[in-house]
């Protein structure tokens, strides 16, 4: 055998052996056995964050955001998955797979709002203040509303000249809990517009047409498509965190109280106060019924809010072992307690105390769980309070009157013009808690209860138009003030909040007080592009012409020089 070939083979074999040998060392050093799970991409940002946080404690968790249905399926089959994450329980008709042969339990892991992230340009600037009502949203995703200047959308966004651009709804191509929760909301509330019922495969809905819709896999795939610069006019449903991370705006959704709200942590917390949790022990223990959320009369409610769940094994089946149970219980315990701290920053909403309590009780059912360490009192969760109420929901800011469905065109507040991350992550409620502002017609001051309860890390962006006569007393910001200080975590700094004057023509920067005239024509962008090409070509032309004029004499000269 030639030496080189032999060498190659030996190297390959040695490499494999070495790798096999390597593994035993770290495995023994860990007190925790690594565990593997897959599922919900809706909750994946939170789970990924927890996974990264527990590494230093020696807990190694592998998580693949393959989608809820894939998670439920993977957990049911084979030995690969030790847990699953899903937004929907097993056995929902036509939506999720049948319950598996192995014993399992649901544990709520995080709450959040399914946000409508969009990519839209108005007057050469990214539009960030879209308001949509349920029927309009259902119409968009059912394919009956096809243009952004549709009268239905225009009626909800008075004073904004939305372009006659095609609406491109971006949906999930894989089996998805986001799709299931979103379609359930539409089916329950606007069944006349949305005819597909609750589904987890959007592509199986009769309304799905590749000419109108775009389908991508995973919440990240949907958000990734919307976030591409060329895909103007697209709107997709994803967890709020994806929009926050990519710096894209989300639509304010109309709730039953007649207010347009954002899926902020507090709004979701308020909404989920009305969620009915199945408390009877059984296979559906702790699953959610969101009918109450949809019709909640609280003005702060964000209607498409829901919980996401871990699916954990309760018996040693499918390759699950006690050491794995120890890791899993430690991980879930972290997620339910300390992990909830970061939920608002990420774009989720922390769990309330009753669900954490119930969840921790479920953790004890995981074989191999260290039950002694599980103590609700040691839980460091931002929603907990001394009297057992949900701090976040209690302190949630009330929306501005400008976000009321009856608000006039002049009452438009712009949101951060760049949709910049710092502004969005600075705290929940930065966009909907814009302080009081009297309109030109002299309507009453607004947001009465909002600023007085600015605690719990909720910065209040108080603002008043430069020309305003009086500012809302409650906002704590004087006339012409920029960002009101929020008691708690960050202030709403960083984000440039532009405010539209009552005449609807001038945009003002509250930081500088500078006002700029808004361009009126929205249909400038593509034309601009054409002229850019031709301008570029014209320059090229001039260059070529010069070359043509100069080249022959130069050639002649050089040839003469060569001859002489």
């Amino acid at each position: 055998m030639p030496s080189r070939l032999r060498g190659l083979v030996v190297t390959a074999v040695l490499a494999t052996v070495a790798c096999l040998g390597l593994t035993s060392a770290p495995a023994m050093a860990d007190a925790y056995t690594p565990i593997t799970g897959e599922g919900s991409s809706w909750a994946a940002n939170a789970i990924d964050d927890w996974r990264a946080s527990v590494v230093n404690a020696g807990i190694k968790v592998n998580f693949a955001a393959a989608g809820s249905v894939a998670g439920l399926t993977g957990f049911a089959q084979g030995n690969s998955d030790d847990f699953a994450a899903s937004d929907i329980p097993y056995g929902v008709k036509d939506t999720s797979p049948d319950p598996p042969g192995r014993a399992f339990a649901y544990i709520p892991d995080v709450a959040g709002g399914t946000a409508l992230m969009y990519n839209l340009t108005v007057a050469g600037k990214r539009f960030t203040n879209l308001k949509l009502s349920g029927p309009t949203i259902a119409g968009i995703f059912a394919g009956s509303i096809t243009r952004w200047n549709d009268p239905k959308i225009a009626a909800e966004n008075p004073g904004v000249a939305l372009p006659p651009l095609k609406v491109t709804p971006v949906v999930r191509s894989d089996g998805s809990g986001s799709t299931a929760q979103f379609s359930l909301w539409m089916a329950k509330q606007f069944g006349s517009v949305w005819k597909c019922g609750q589904i987890s495969f959007f592509t199986q809905c009769g309304s799905y047409k590749a000419t109108t819709h775009q389908a991508k896999s995973g919440d990240n795939g949907v958000a990734g498509f919307v976030a591409q610069a060329g895909n103007a006019g697209s709107i997709g449903y994803v967890e709020y965190s994806y929009a926050l991370q990519s710096g894209f705006p989300v639509a304010k959704v109309l709730n039953k109280a007649g207010f347009y709200t954002l899926p902020t942590a507090s709004n979701v917390a308020v909404a989920l106060l009305k969620a009915k949790i199945t408390m009877t022990p059984g296979p559906t223990y702790l699953t959610q019924n969101l009918d109450g959320v949809y019709v909640d009369p609280d003005p702060r409610n964000y209607p498409i809010s829901s919980y996401s769940y871990f699916v954990v094994p309760t018996q040693l089946q499918n390759g699950f072992t006690n050491p794995k149970g120890k890791t899993l219980s430690a991980f879930v315990r972290y997620a339910l307690c300390d992990g909830q701290q970061k939920a608002p920053t990420l774009g989720y909403s922390p769990l309330p105390i009753n669900l954490v309590q119930a969840g921790l009780n479920q953790v004890k059912r995981i074989p191999g769980a260290e039950t002694a360490a599980i103590d609700i009192k040691k839980c460091n969760n931002p929603t907990f309070s001394a009297d057992g109420t949900n701090t976040l929901a209690k302190n949630a800011l009330y929306p501005d009157l400008c976000d009321k469905s009856t608000a006039k065109a002049g009452c438009v507040y712009g949101t951060p013009s760049n949709g910049s991350k710092s502004a969005s992550t600075g705290g929940q409620g930065d966009q909907n808690s814009v302080g009081a502002k009297p309109t030109g017609t002299g309507s009453t001051t607004t947001s009465t209860g909002s600023a007085t309860t600015g605690g719990a890390g909720t910065p209040v962006v108080g603002g008043a138009a430069p020309g305003a006569t009086t500012a809302g007393a409650a906002s704590g910001a004087g006339a012409g003030a920029a960002a009101g200080a929020g008691a708690g975590a960050g202030t709403g700094s960083g984000g440039q909040v532009s405010i539209l004057n009552p005449d609807g023509k001038t945009s003002c920067d509250p930081d500088t007080g500078q006002c700029t005239q808004l361009a009126a024509s929205p249909a400038e962008l593509p034309l601009d592009h054409v002229s850019a090409v031709s301008r570029w070509a014209v320059w090229l032309m001039i260059g070529l012409l010069l070359c043509l004029i100069l080249a022959p004499p130069a050639l002649v000269l050089s040839s003469r020089k060569a001859k002489s």
Partner: protein, 336 residues
């Protein structure tokens, strides 16, 4: 001693052909045993794959029956599934790919063998071979992030001016839209086909180049001596000689194009309908169907996916065998 020939003592009566007996020594026997053994192992692996796929696929096929070929939807757990849409989509994408790859690789291989200076030639060969080795996910990245944005305006232009040809029609686009949306043109068969075409071009090119370089020098020089231009020589000598190789190489490329997964999966917007409008958003292929649904497939769903995979495999197999027989029968292929 490896070979020993033992001669039988012939009975002197007449000359009969001698019986030749082969006796191998032990190392040779071991070698032959090991070689045959590995042949058997490989054969059993291959047969295992084939038989397993067929058996699992048969479960699904039994339930679907003939409707497997005519159903467009893919809802295996509802018993409503078939390859009508995915197979058409696969073939359309591969068709576009070959449409791109064939002229490009013909031009490139002609350039390499007939036009390029010597130094350029070896460089080009290396570059093309390198291109064949670039992972498909990289082509996918390029297609999704770069090509898509570049091609969409062209597709828009084509659909606006040639929309009356059914192939180029795009539904839901008004002719005089003041603000046309580019999203209608993303994730289309055309873009997926373009990317796959770029992936198979190097493969096809290297086969064609091999064939063109075997053109008998006497015939070429004869043509030149008769006063033919370079194109004349190519048309009357090179192309007729390399015809078999061109067809065979293209068909091999077609086989690759049919099975391509990741680049297609990254680009397309899946649609479960027969969608012959190549400029319009929405396409599907068998392999991207598998990539899309394997994770959430029930055991029966997995069988259905295997049935789809088997269909694709058989299609590719047919094309590959046809390609190799075309190459073998052609004048250029006889020597290779």
């Amino acid at each position: 001693m490896g070979l020993a020939i033992e001669l039988d003592d012939a009975p002197a009566a007449e000359d009969r052909p001698r019986r030749i007996k082969l006796v191998r020594d032990t190392p040779d026997k071991i070698f032959r045993g090991v070689a045959t053994g590995s042949g058997v192992v490989v054969l059993s692996i291959m047969l295992l794959v084939g038989v397993f796929l067929s058996v699992r696929a048969f479960q699904a096929l039994k339930r679907a029956g003939l409707s497997f070929l005519t159903t467009r939807a893919w809802e295996p757990d509802a018993g409503h599934f078939g390859v009508a849409a995915v197979l058409t989509g696969t073939i359309l994408i591969a068709f576009v790919a070959v449409l791109i790859a064939f002229p490009l690789s013909t031009a490139t291989s002609l350039y390499i063998t007939q036009y390029a200076p010597d130094r350029m030639r070896s460089l080009l060969v290396s570059v093309i071979d390198l291109m064949a080795a670039i992972p498909s996910v990289v082509y996918g990245l390029w297609g999704f992030f770069f090509l898509q944005a570049e091609v969409a305006p062209v597709a828009a232009w084509i659909s606006r001016h040639f929309g009356w040809i059914p192939l180029f029609r795009v539904d839901g686009v008004q002719k005089d839209d003041p603000l046309p949306s580019m999203t209608v043109f993303t994730g289309s068969t055309l873009i997926a086909g373009l990317v796959v075409g770029m992936m198979i071009t190097p493969v096809v090119t290297s086969i064609m180049r091999e064939v063109f370089s075997q053109v008998p020098i006497g015939e070429r020089e004869g043509a030149f001596a008769l006063g033919a231009t370079k194109w004349g020589v190519i048309r009357s000598v090179v192309l007729p000689f390399g015809k078999g190789g061109m067809i065979g190489g293209t068909m091999l490329g077609l086989g690759r194009a049919l099975g391509e997964t990741i680049a297609v999966y990254m680009i397309i917007t899946p649609v479960f309908a027969v969608q012959p409008h190549i400029l319009q958003s929405g396409a599907i292929s068998v392999s991207s169907l598998i990539a899309l649904h394997f994770a959430e497939a029930s055991p029966f769903g997995l069988s259905a996916l295997m049935a789809a995979g088997l269909t694709l495999f058989l299609l590719t197999l047919m094309i590959n065998f046809a390609a190799s027989s075309v190459v073998a029968r052609s004048r250029s292929g006889a020597s290779s």
